[in-house]
């Protein structure tokens, strides 16, 4: 039960079919150096969707543009989007198009990284900022940002 819940939260129901990631999770090989296991992230998960204030959305979008968009913008020239497309399939690669991200899932990956994505240091993206960013992504999908 716990393992199933963990998978659903970490991978998102719609992409559960992705065997590669499931296998990685089962083997406990997510995260830089494997210092926090996936269950820790899942234990604190809050999957319920909340409606965010316009200020939080704007701040979240700004943080996404500053820290993430260079790898996660739409288009295969962005390594994050390319990697997630290889994992989940065509048109499923861009984070802002996702409707199945949760704050704890995002927080886990931002602090620990996975594959070629290194974790983000608290010194560059603090916990308060990460909270807003994670809420923003969990409130997706978001329409394309025009200028970057």
């Amino acid at each position: 039960m716990k393992a199933r819940l963990m998978k659903e939260i970490l991978i998102g129901r719609r992409t559960l079919a992705c065997r590669l990631v499931s296998a990685m999770l089962a083997l406990g090989i997510v995260g830089a150096g494997g210092t926090v296991n996936a269950a820790d992230a899942a234990a604190a998960a809050t999957p319920a969707k909340v409606t965010l204030s316009p200020e939080t959305l704007a701040k979240g979008s700004e943080l996404f543009v500053k820290n993430c968009i260079m790898c996660h913008d739409r288009g295969m020239e962005h390594p994050g989007t390319a990697a997630l497309t290889y994992l989940y399939g065509k048109d499923k690669g861009a984070l802002e198009d996702r409707d199945n991200l949760t704050p704890d899932f995002v927080r886990f990956f931002v602090r620990h990284g996975r594959g070629l994505m290194p974790g983000f240091r608290t010194g560059e993206l603090n916990d308060a900022e990460l909270k807003v960013l994670a809420e923003y992504l969990s409130a997706g999908p978001h329409p394309a940002v025009p200028a970057k």
Partner: protein, 524 residues
């Protein structure tokens, strides 16, 4: 992961050290949590166990005053710090310290763009300013100055320069374009080098050499101080920019390409760093290995051929760009085209000849105009959980050297079961050969093999008279050891300077193989 302590410091001492750091920067900017805070201060692309580079803490001062007090605390406890700025030194160690237990000195919060001088073409930045930050700022203020960025746009203007990093516009040799530096010594003294030492100087960022010995070089790739500010010359947007690509059919064309290229570079017809890129690099940024081959070991030639025709790339792919007024570009192009046309099978491409979704072309086109992006990280998508370290020896710009280097690396690489993925970057008179050694970061055996291969390459290159321009944390001592002429006179001089400017040995011990006296075990 268990908590570690700084070398030579006991648990109680560490607690009071952390408390003292908190007094300086505030509680929220000292990081000690091993679950959530410290993992990102390690290197995501290690070939060695993560324990070897796990920091005990990280501290992030907001300004030079706080930095000064952080150094005071470190001196008091004789605690080793490891300086990082934007902290994206991936392929060479990321933000991770040389040894476990160091405290990472994270300067990312010092991220002000202090000046943009449109008239004279320069910017003055603090350590935490990324290429992306500077680019966006210039766009915002409507500046007509270009950034020159390394391939990863999240890297830092200041720390990439101090690492002798390279970009892809005519201003790509970053150390050459640096003018004016502020540096804090281990004792807390703030120094302005060059013209900046004159109070009220008007030329701190216009004339590099100042009066007396030029000190700036002492603080690049070094642990003699903490650089807190630099001036960087920025290129004014040229009246025209026309990037081009030339593909070559045969692996053995590398010799001829390099011979044709040398006079073009020396005579400055190709103003930016000239890139000869091997086909696998081109492929890796846009397709994956399993798209083409699921067997073990290096990709066979028949498959490589198929990739070349699918992606419209050559065995070698040359990237350059014309800059200037159109008539000048037209004239220069004739010379370049005629020179390369002497190589049978050469094909020439401009922007209109490459597809809009040609990932490799599009990012090179951006880099040539200093538009920061992250596309090159795609090379690691070649395999699942890909990570890489760079092996980067320097050689003369000759066909013989290029081929010798290529074969030296390719053969050892294939023997060790890895794909060769590399490029040659020609600067003023030198050639950087960048070999991107990609491995699965979740496969301990493969990592150990990559580590062994890298060490063998260091030795083989040194035996052939080639030295590296930069390296990963794990190979700093080994490579410093190859620069050993006259009984390691250079290293011994570095150590003398280190002991003089940082007697407590607090700044990045072991950086580039330079250790303070207290940590030079087994060496005089």
């Amino acid at each position: 992961m268990d908590a570690v302590l700084p070398p030579g410091i006991k648990r109680e001492q560490f607690a009071s050290l952390v408390a003292d750091l908190q007094k300086v920067v505030g509680r929220e900017f000292v990081f000690t949590d091993t679950q959530w805070e410290l993992p990102a201060y390690n290197d995501a692309y290690l070939t060695t166990p993560a324990e070897l580079h796990q920091p005990s803490a990280a501290v992030a001062p907001a300004n030079v005053e706080e930095l000064q007090r952080v150094l005071e605390v470190a001196r008091h406890y004789k605690a080793p710090l490891w300086t990082t700025s934007t902290g994206k030194n991936f392929a060479y160690g990321g933000p991770a310290p040389r040894k476990a237990g160091y405290i990472v000195l994270d300067l990312k919060r010092m991220n002000r763009i202090l000046e943009v001088n449109e008239k004279h073409g320069y910017a003055v930045v603090e350590p935490g300013v990324s290429y992306m930050d500077l680019y966006r700022h210039l766009q915002k203020i409507g500046s007509k100055l270009w950034v020159d960025c390394a391939a990863p746009g999240w890297g830092g203007v200041l720390p990439n320069m101090t690492e002798h990093g390279v970009g892809y516009t005519p201003y790509g040799d970053h150390v050459t374009m640096q003018c004016g530096m502020e540096v804090m010594l281990a004792d807390g003294t703030l120094v302005q080098t060059g013209m900046g030492a004159l109070p009220g100087s008007q030329t701190s960022h216009l004339y590099k050499y100042g009066f007396g010995p030029s000190m700036d070089g002492l603080f690049t790739q070094s642990n003699f101080g903490v650089v807190t500010k630099v001036g960087m010359w920025l290129m004014p947007e040229p009246p025209g920019y026309r990037p081009y690509m030339i593909t070559f059919e045969k692996e053995s064309d590398l010799h001829a390409i390099t011979e044709v290229l040398r006079p073009l570079k020396v005579n400055m017809l190709i103003p930016a760093v000239a890139m000869t890129v091997e086909m696998l690099w081109e492929a890796a940024v846009q397709v994956t290995r399993r798209d083409y081959y699921t067997g073990k070991g290096p990709i066979p030639d028949s498959v490589r051929k198929k990739m070349r025709s699918d992606l419209k790339i050559g065995a070698w792919n040359f990237y350059g760009a014309l800059y200037g007024p159109p008539p000048m570009m037209d004239n220069t192009w004739e010379v370049i085209r005629d020179a390369f046309a002497s190589i049978p099978g050469a094909k020439f491409y401009f922007d209109e000849d490459r597809a809009k979704d040609d990932v490799a072309w599009q990012y090179r086109k951006k880099l040539g105009a200093g538009i920061p992006n992250m596309t090159e990280y795609n090379v690691m998508n070649w395999i699942p959980n890909g990570a890489h370290i760079d092996f980067s020896p320097i050689s003369p710009v000759t066909g013989v050297d290029a081929t010798k280097q290529y074969e030296l690396i390719r053969d050892r690489c294939n023997k060790a079961g890895f794909d060769y993925c590399g490029e040659f970057a020609v600067g003023w008179r030198d050639m950087h050969h960048i070999f991107c050694l990609t491995f699965d970061r979740n496969d301990a055996k493969e990592k150990a093999r990559a580590n062994k291969l890298f060490g063998d390459l260091v030795d083989a290159a040194a035996a052939a008279g080639y030295g590296e321009y930069r390296t990963h944390l794990d190979f700093m001592d080994r490579i410093a050891g190859t620069y050993n002429w006259n009984d390691s006179a250079l290293l011994r001089m570095h150590e003398k300077v280190k002991d003089a400017v940082d007697p407590s040995g607090i700044l990045s011990p072991g950086k580039m193989g330079i250790w303070p006296k207290s940590m030079r075990k087994g060496r005089a």
